[in-house]
């Protein structure tokens, strides 16, 4: 494709085959999403093979957006994502910063205590019973607080902090900077890439959370968009179709509403996601 301009290489049979393979792979990746997109705009009884709406119209989206029961779940999703990401980042940066204090008495104990949770867990039901006994079920606190301490993300953050030169800490201490001052003035400003990467990982997992809602939330007023979408797709909670939209159009439109915000943000965030994976992988 592009190589002709770049290096004036010959177009070999191999490079043509490669391009075709990748066009095919990308096509297969996109086609399920494209199909949903097309059907969400099609008012005609859908026939599977078409790749373009037969009878174009926004009635599917209008049905979704004129349905007030969908605003609340969107609001819940936004609130829990912001609050959860914030708390998650506080816990991972604080924890990571403490874990690089090699001379701190008790550091090894704390590290082992956190690591043990990656090896063994109480399980789904004992955790549910704890949340239930704390009266957190059917409150948004359960879905915000339970996933906030993510030991894996904490370790990623610690790996990143370890890369900060010790001499910076030492000179700041000599200049009279307190540990808390060092944290806010040196560690955090130097870790913007890691904060973005791990913050986005938290945000995606909060936005996509379904399991915790399924376990701890039974009150449908506190459902997030994922829970709502699930009930729309299962047909138990279909918004009333507006105008000439069919049930199928409405389902497709609701799915698109869940996908679109992310599709818009994704190109800007992609490099941070990749950074996140590489902090974990490249570390030796």
């Amino acid at each position: 494709m592009m190589k002709r301009e770049k290096k004036k290489k010959k177009i070999t049979l191999f490079s043509v085959c490669l391009a075709i393979v990748f066009l095919l792979v990308c096509f297969l990746m996109i086609v399920p999403l494209w199909k949903v997109f097309v059907d969400s705009l099609d008012l005609h009884t859908a026939y599977g093979m078409k790749m373009w709406p037969k009878k174009f119209g926004f009635d599917g989206y209008i049905s979704v957006f004129t349905n007030p029961t969908l605003y609340q779940p969107l609001l819940v999703s936004v609130i829990t994502t912001i609050a959860g990401t914030f708390i998650g980042l506080i816990l991972s940066t604080f924890g990571a910063y403490v874990l690089i204090q090699w001379e701190m008495p008790g550091r090894t104990f704390i590290a082992n205590m956190l690591l043990f949770t990656m090896i063994f867990s109480g399980g789904m039901i004992p955790t549910y019973l704890v949340i239930n006994n704390l009266h957190l079920t059917n409150t948004l606190w359960s879905v915000i607080l339970v996933p906030a301490l993510n030991v894996y993300n904490l370790v990623l953050m610690r790996n990143f902090f370890e890369g900060i030169p010790v001499s910076l800490f030492e000179s700041a201490t000599i200049d009279g900077c307190t540990p808390v001052g060092i944290f806010f003035r040196i560690v955090l400003p130097l870790s913007k890439a890691a904060l973005a990467a791990i913050g986005l990982m938290f945000a995606v997992s909060y936005w996509n959370d379904y399991t915790n809602y399924k376990l701890y939330i039974t009150n449908s007023d506190l459902y997030n968009f994922q829970m709502k979408l699930r009930s729309v797709i299962l047909g138990s909670d279909l918004p009333i179709a507006n105008g000439s939209a069919t049930a199928n159009t409405v389902k497709n439109a609701a799915t698109m509403v869940a996908i679109i915000p992310f599709m818009i943000l994704y190109p800007f965030c992609q490099k941070y996601f990749v950074t996140g994976v590489n902090i974990g992988a490249v570390k030796e």
Partner: protein, 317 residues
């Protein structure tokens, strides 16, 4: 974190009390982390005692010894969930890793930077879809009507009669292949990132030297690229093998009553036995199932940690 930094640290000669005082701010900072760890990870561990109790809903727990475990091991549902957990996650792991390696090798051969970047952007995308959205998308395109993309495609090729469409997600025969394919769709692209990072680290001189020696594309891939990837492939397999018992959400959103025998895994078994059984939730029994699950998972992590230390000189935890 198990790597010891002690040899690097000069052991402080200051008395313990002074060292604690110097670090007083750090104890304050770690406090919220410890509170979270205790409430959400350690308190549930004490809840494991209910595995030895008859504990139904609002009734007081009664100690029953190993009754829950006896019941569990005599239940066909438990064994099928156990087998399914192993089968689904191991096959999924192998298939996904294989697909990711192949795609990475091919991506690595693309010389056009823009084309490569575009392809990567597209294949990473499905990773960020939630399982609910993924299940919705595939429920729509695998729908057993002419509205479903796959069925109408097969009809147009003549493989499927109109009116006799296949209900892929509700058929004993098709549920598992559909599950694997959906997983490939969602995770292959993301899986390539770690392999691409390794490939980027290969010294280009190796390829040049091989070219001078007359190695073609195939031989270069076989003798330089694949050996370089081998360690990463083993690492990925080990890391993921440690997590296979946690399989839950992907199965939960894709399964339905028609395919329980093919799809039920331990976590979904625990969930449905507790919350969807119709009777009072039997917390004691499902805690016992969860305990068996956690113990197997723990053993797997320790085995994988050992394997990881052997293979790459450092543990996974």
């Amino acid at each position: 974190m198990s790597r010891n930094k002690k040899e690097k640290t000069v052991v402080s000669t200051k008395p313990l009390r002074t060292r604690i005082y110097i670090h007083r701010w750090f104890y304050l900072m770690i406090l919220p982390v410890l509170v979270f760890a205790i409430i959400f990870f350690y308190l549930p561990m004490f809840g494991i005692r209910y595995a030895f109790f008859e504990y139904k809903g609002i009734l007081e727990p009664v100690f029953v010894g190993f009754e829950n475990f006896k019941k569990m091991f005599s239940m066909a549902g438990f064994w099928s969930a156990f087998r399914n957990t192993m089968e689904l996650s191991i096959i999924k792991l192998i298939v996904n890793t294989g697909a990711a390696v192949i795609i990475s090798l091919l991506l690595n051969e693309i010389t056009g930077l823009k084309f490569k970047k575009a392809a990567q952007t597209i294949i990473y995308l499905p990773h960020f879809m939630s399982w609910v959205v993924t299940a919705s998308v595939f429920a729509l395109i695998l729908s057993p009507t002419q509205e479903g993309l796959v069925n109408s495609f097969l009809t147009s090729l003549g493989f499927v009669e109109k009116g006799a469409e296949i209900y892929f997600l509700g058929s004993n025969r098709w549920w598992r292949p559909a599950y694997y394919i959906i997983n490939i769709w969602k995770e292959t692209g993301w899986g390539t990132i770690i392999f691409m990072a390794t490939l980027a680290g290969i010294n280009p001189e190796q390829y040049e030297a091989a070219s001078i020696d007359g190695a073609g594309r195939w031989n270069k891939m076989r003798f330089i690229t694949l050996p370089a990837l081998a360690n990463t492939i083993i690492t990925v397999l080990i890391l993921n093998l440690a997590k296979i018992m946690n399989l839950f959400e992907s199965v939960f959103v894709l399964q339905n009553d028609a395919v329980v025998r093919q799809s039920d895994v331990l976590q979904t078994y625990i969930y449905t036995q507790t919350f969807n059984s119709g009777a009072l939730p039997n917390y004691g029994y499902t805690t016992a199932v969860g305990l068996v699950k956690s113990l197997v998972a723990c053993a797997l992590v320790l085995i994988c940690n050992y394997a990881s230390k052997k293979v790459r000189g450092r543990g996974i935890v």
